[in-house]
Structures are given as C-alpha cells and as structure tokens.
Amino acid sequence: RRTRLLAVFEHVNTNFTRAYKLLQPGGDGRLLLENPKNPFEGGLEMACVPPGKSKRTRRSFLSGGEKSMAALAFIFAIQDYEPSPFYYFDEVDQNLDPFNAERIATLCRLRSMQAQFIMVTLRKVSLNLADHHIGITHAGDGCSRRIADFDRAAALELGEEFEKEKA
C-alpha cells in the first residue's frame, strides 16, 4: 500500500510540475507529502510559487485565480496518470483573468487531439478556442432544450448581444 502510494506520488508529481510550468510560465510548482516516511499520517500539499512571487509563498496566500491554476495543474496531472478517451469540465475558468482562461482553453484544445474534451463555459476566450459549440437554454417553462443551428458566432453572440444593448 505504502510503496504503491509513493510510486503514484512520484508519477503525479512529475506531471504536476510540468503542467504548472505550462500554465504559469515563470512560476514553480510541486507536490509535497507532509510526512514522506509515513504518507498516511500526513496530507498532500501543492507548493506553488506563481511567476514573480516570493519563494516563501504558502498555498493559503494565493489569490482565487492562482489557487484555481494550481488545482487545474493537479487535475491535469491526475488525468495524465491514467488517460481516458473523454473529459468533461464545468466552468473551470470562472475566476480566471483572460490570460489564464486562455491558457486553460489552449491546453484543452491541445489535449483534444488525443481525447474528446467537453467544456461548459460562459467566457468568450474559451468559446473562441473551441471547435464545436452547443447552446442550451430553457424556454421559461422550466424545460431545458438544445438551441438548433448553434455555432461559434451564435455562442459569442449570446454573450455579446448583451454588451451591444448596453454600449
């Protein structure tokens, strides 16, 4: 049991370090077992230093967006340990700024060469980078339907029509 966890840890940690560098260029991230001798006694920490920050940065200091990027690196690291033919992500870009949202969407696009990626999103950056678009709405009667003839332009329109009205 212990040797198995340590082997998985080494593998996922290597994946994590690589994924974090990709998502936060200039930053540095790795996984830490609190008690490497008896891993079941301690927890697992994500030690991340975002680009430009002090080496002394603890996970609790990180901002909302910085924490999400660390967690997403962990998710990609776990997915790489045992690849699947398809993945589903639900609004993982909620608290990311446009730069970080784009990095995540680009990585999903790259990975979609090997496996199918389905991503629920409200952000224009992510909608722009997807190959296919599905629109879901409810018609005011509480019944969900798929919007017919939906494409990237329609998806961007859904967010835009809003901004056009206001401008």
Binding site: F9, L44, S84, D90, I118, G140
Partner: protein
C-alpha cells in the same frame, strides 16, 4: 472511440426526449444560468459514475426525474443513454467489449406503485447489472471517479480542501 451523443428522457430539467450530439475534438457548451448545462454533465456522471447522487445536487435518484417545470406534471420514468463510437481500431479490436459500431449504455429510473425509485441498467437492449456496466466501461478507460469529470465547483474544492483530504484524492488514483 468518442462520445457520439447523449439521449435524455425526463432527466432533471430535460423534460421529454432530448438528444445532444457531440463531435470529436474540443466542444464548448454555453447558455444562461439555470438553463441545464450542468444537468447535462450530471447525466454523464449518472451513467459513468460511482459518486453519490449528492454530487448531482439530489438527495436520492427520485429527485433526478423531471418534476414538470412551471406547469407540467412530474414524470414517473426517466433515462439517460450514452452512445459511444465503437468502430474497430487499427488492430481490428473494438475499444468497448460490445459487438456494435455504436455502443449504447442506458441507466433508467422509474417510480413503482409505492413511489419508490427503481433503477435499471442496459447495454444496447440487454439488461445488465450496475457492476457489469461499470466493468465494461472501465475496461475502455471510462471512469466516473477521478477527475475525468470535473463538476461545477470541483476546482475550488480541490484548491481549498485540507492536505489530508488531498492525500485521499491521490490514494483513490492509486
């Protein structure tokens, strides 16, 4: 192998029969708040998953049946079918051990006379047990656990959970 489409019947806010087709590559789902986007993810988790109904924001499987919406009647039967492309690969083998070009996995729930939810599972039009369905899916790398399916809020939970729980996540992967 990829997900061709989801066929929903009275699953959560999807009243009646609705089909959501998918392509290979990178697909984005969008729409207003409360429209049913996360419910379509719950539908995938419902068939593939081992996680409890709690992650689908329901107290029991009965809550997953269409409640009629603003004016309608509550449905008494619901089902979700995931249809995967399963044509033989270069080596002549099919990724899923189902002898069809389209492999269909159906999970359905109906209310019995005492209003208790009764679940049933089918591969194609053959009734199977939950375990057999999960085993056939798992052989092809289709798991509901792990982070292949990241539901709304999972990222924040992972970023803020205690180190002990995060070690537990790694144990599940092992």
């Amino acid at each position: 192998m990829h997900l061709l489409r989801i066929e929903l019947e009275n699953f959560k806010s999807f009243g009646g029969q609705i089909t959501v087709p998918f392509d290979e590559g990178f697909t984005a789902i969008t729409g207003p708040n409360g429209s049913g986007k996360s419910n379509s993810g719950d539908a995938i988790q419902f068939v593939l998953g081992t996680r409890s109904t709690k992650v689908m924001r329901a107290d029991n499987v009965g809550d997953l049946i269409f409640n009629g919406g603003k004016s309608g009647k509550q449905a008494r039967h619901m089902s979700v079918t995931l249809v995967f492309a399963n044509t033989p690969e270069i080596d002549g083998r099919r990724r899923l051990r189902v002898d069809e070009d389209e492999a269909k996995f159906t999970r359905s729930v109906r209310l019995n006379r005492k209003n208790q939810p009764v679940s049933s599972y089918m591969i194609g039009d053959r009734s199977v047990t939950a375990t057999e369905m999960r085993r056939t899916l798992a052989e092809a790398g289709l798991h509901g656990d792990g982070y292949n399916i990241v539901l709304q809020g999972d990222v924040t939970t992972l970023a803020t959970m205690t180190p002990h729980r995060r070690r537990g996540v790694l144990e599940e992967v092992a």
